[in-house]
């Protein structure tokens, strides 16, 4: 019962933001929905271990992205339009669509770094732990991604 309650609470707290993070990463909110569901099932399957992680939502996010990219590699004949990540109200938002298109050309791991850092709000060490890379790799990956996005501006917390 305790496990179930713990999982349910985790699911209800994190599902929305993980889904959004995956949708921005893979550019498709339908695919993200199925991927996140599958990732939560896998989290439940390994709940004794996952529940002890510092950032279990990061684990779910990465599993979902893995699943979505694996599915797309096997079955998708056409690239998903980045606009598929947005709700109908914002598909005319040029800035949002442009941002998604620019994200789509980044290597997947850089997209994941940006999303973990600036959408889910993870620190550099936390991002590194989720992606299983060194903190320095996260810093350089974010830097390269920002350069490609021509976003050579300070982030709101003053870091670059």
């Amino acid at each position: 019962m305790q496990d179930r309650d713990g999982f349910t609470g985790f699911y209800e707290r994190c599902r929305r933001e993980v889904h959004a993070a995956v949708a921005v990463t893979v550019g498709d909110h339908h695919l993200a929905a199925d991927a996140v569901d599958e990732a939560f099932v896998r989290a439940a399957e390994r709940w004794p271990q996952v529940s002890q992680m510092e950032r279990p939502a990061g684990w779910v996010y990465r599993v979902a992205v893995n699943w979505a990219t694996s599915w797309r590699r096997k079955w998708s004949r056409r690239p998903t339009l980045p606009i598929d990540a947005l709700d109908g109200l914002h598909q005319d938002d040029l800035a949002a669509v442009t941002m998604l298109e620019e994200l789509a050309v980044l290597p997947l791991v850089q997209r994941q770094m940006l999303v973990l850092r600036f959408v889910l709000g993870y620190s550099v060490p936390e991002t590194a732990a989720v992606l299983d890379v060194a903190p320095g790799t996260v810093k350089s990956g974010v830097h390269r991604a920002r350069q490609q996005l021509h976003a050579d501006v300070e982030v709101s917390d003053g870091t670059r």
Binding site: E38, A44, E45, N66, W75, V153
Partner: protein
């Protein structure tokens, strides 16, 4: 605007996910964990009084209680392809350890005997029961979700759903499940979310094909010719009087296009999936490749009587256009219809191995395959090899793709095969798939690249044997040879006939 603010704003504009059921997801995860833990402690499984799975080979399995606890899983072990570099560096998957060394049966489920079931979706089977689409978990066979069949698929309000042979089809891919009958089409996601249902009445025609790609759903209806008592059916005339193609947008079920095909539509699911094309035959017997999503023609191929198109990889072939076996057969590039190569004789079987196509061809007007020819993407012939001694019967030639660059060419169960190296056509003396014992009659079919279905020789045993190329076997008794099989990512094989569905885990 700062980058982090831009990204956060972007995330806020993603629509909320459909409502979810945390409890259902938790239960699914717990069931998977229990199956993983329980399967490792059983060597022989008595299943529902129907039959017993016997593990042939080493019957003793490691005691799961003695094994150290599995390490905390890293995300790289989950969800990605096994070819990912990170997955290769990850610790061994405990799911595989639990069922070593010979595999085991996971579950069985009796089926209603309907012609449309079962169907595989993302490795999890979907069946029709009591006018509902039912999604089963591949690990346990337990029900994951149920969706009622929509009223759009009924001939009249409150009436039954027509699920009879020739009038219903269940199909799907990793993301979508489609049920089509002569009244309508319904689409459900592989996680059980109902997406849409549309009436697509067939006006008395029967349903000949239904298929879903990632963008479209195609249904084809055929109405047989109407003859009065004085007419005879001329075999040179098409069997179908009216063929209607309807293509729907997979997103919302809106009709993209609908048209009549003058003669017939060729059901080639791999062509639809890989090239997004639909082949139709016109009145002048030419073959037109239509863009599946728009109905616009992409290219045309020369037609002829008794055409039988085949597709594999990026190659499309038709029987030679003028109907005589001695004329060369053209291999076309499926993407654009250009000629890749010409081979003498009629193609009886073909196999795509990624960078090469192997074809078995006849010669001299006969039916019997005489030669195996390897054709490269640029149309050049890499090698040729006579196959006649191995295919003396000429009935049912097959080419199986084996590991390590070998192809197994044989004709019917029990026939002496020819094992050729696909790189240079050299012949291998031994058959890597030769039965380890005399307990089988020979290969009946293949699942994936490594698993064969064989029938036991004992006449009193109703069942079959799964065998891999290393000789390890798993005997499935109490069931006839399956009509359909599928192999999932998690080394689970699904085997189905109209009466029963069985899931086994491979070693």
């Amino acid at each position: 605007m700062a980058l982090d603010e831009q990204l956060r704003q972007l995330a806020e504009r993603v629509p909320a996910p459909p409502s979810g059921d945390a409890d259902a997801l938790f239960q699914r995860g717990v069931r998977r964990r229990r199956v993983r833990q329980a399967a490792g402690g059983v060597a022989v499984v008595a299943v529902l009084g129907i039959g017993v799975v016997t593990l042939v080979g080493n019957p003793s399995l490691p005691d799961i209680a003695d094994r150290p606890p599995a390490p905390a899983p890293t995300p790289s072990e989950e969800g990605g392809d096994r070819t990912d570099r990170e997955a290769q560096q990850a610790p061994a998957d405990p799911d595989r350890i639990a069922c070593e060394p010979d595999g085991c049966e996971l579950w069985r489920r009796p089926l209603a005997g309907l012609p449309a079931t079962p169907q595989w979706v993302a490795g999890d089977p979907v069946v029709i029961e009591d006018e509902q689409l039912v999604g089963l978990g591949v690990d346990t066979g337990a029900v994951r979700w149920q969706v009622p069949i929509g009223d759009e698929l009924r001939a009249r309000e409150g009436g039954p759903v027509d699920l009879s042979l020739g009038r219903v089809m269940l199909t799907g891919n990793d993301e979508l499940v489609v049920l089509a009958n002569t009244q309508g089409v319904q689409l459900v996601s592989q996680s059980g979310q109902a997406r849409w249902a549309r009436p697509v009445p067939a006006d008395g025609a029967h349903l000949s094909w239904a298929h879903v790609t990632d963008t479209s759903v195609v249904v084809v209806h055929e109405a047989p010719p109407e003859l009065d008592d004085t007419e005879e059916l001329d075999s040179s005339q098409p069997l179908s009087l009216a063929v209607t193609i309807t293509v729907l947008d997979a997103t919302d079920g809106q009709v993209r296009w609908s048209d009549r095909a003058p003669r017939q539509v060729y059901a080639l699911p791999t062509l639809a999936d890989q090239q997004g094309l639909l082949l139709v035959e016109g009145e002048d017997q030419t073959i037109t490749a239509l863009e599946l999503d728009s109905g616009e023609p992409r290219y045309r191929l020369p037609g002829g009587a008794e055409l039988s198109p085949e597709h594999t990889g990026d190659v499309l072939t038709l029987r030679n256009p003028d109907g005589t076996a001695s004329a060369p057969t053209q291999l076309f590039n499926a993407t654009d219809g250009t000629v890749r190569a010409e081979v003498a004789g009629t193609v009886r079987a073909l196999l795509d191995i990624g960078n090469r196509t192997i074809v078995l061809v006849t010669a001299d007007g006969g039916d019997r395959p005489r030669e195996a020819v390897a054709v490269d993407p640029d149309g050049s012939i890499a090698w040729r090899h006579p196959v006649e001694p191995a295919l003396a019967d000429g009935c049912c030639p097959t080419i199986l793709d084996l590991d390590g660059g070998w192809a197994r060419i044989a004709d019917g169960p029990g026939a002496e095969p020819l094992i050729v190296d696909t790189r240079d056509g050299t012949v291998r003396a031994d058959d890597p798939l030769a039965a380890a014992s005399t307990d089988t009659t020979g290969v009946q079919g293949q699942i994936g690249r490594q698993l064969l279905i064989e029938r036991p020789t004992q006449q009193d045993t109703n069942g079959f044997i799964l065998r891999d190329h290393t000789g390890r076997t798993l005997r499935i008794s109490g069931q006839a040879t399956p009509d359909a099989t599928a192999r999932t990512e998690r080394e689970i094989v699904l085997l189905a006939n109209p009466r029963e569905l069985v899931a086994v885990r491979l070693p």
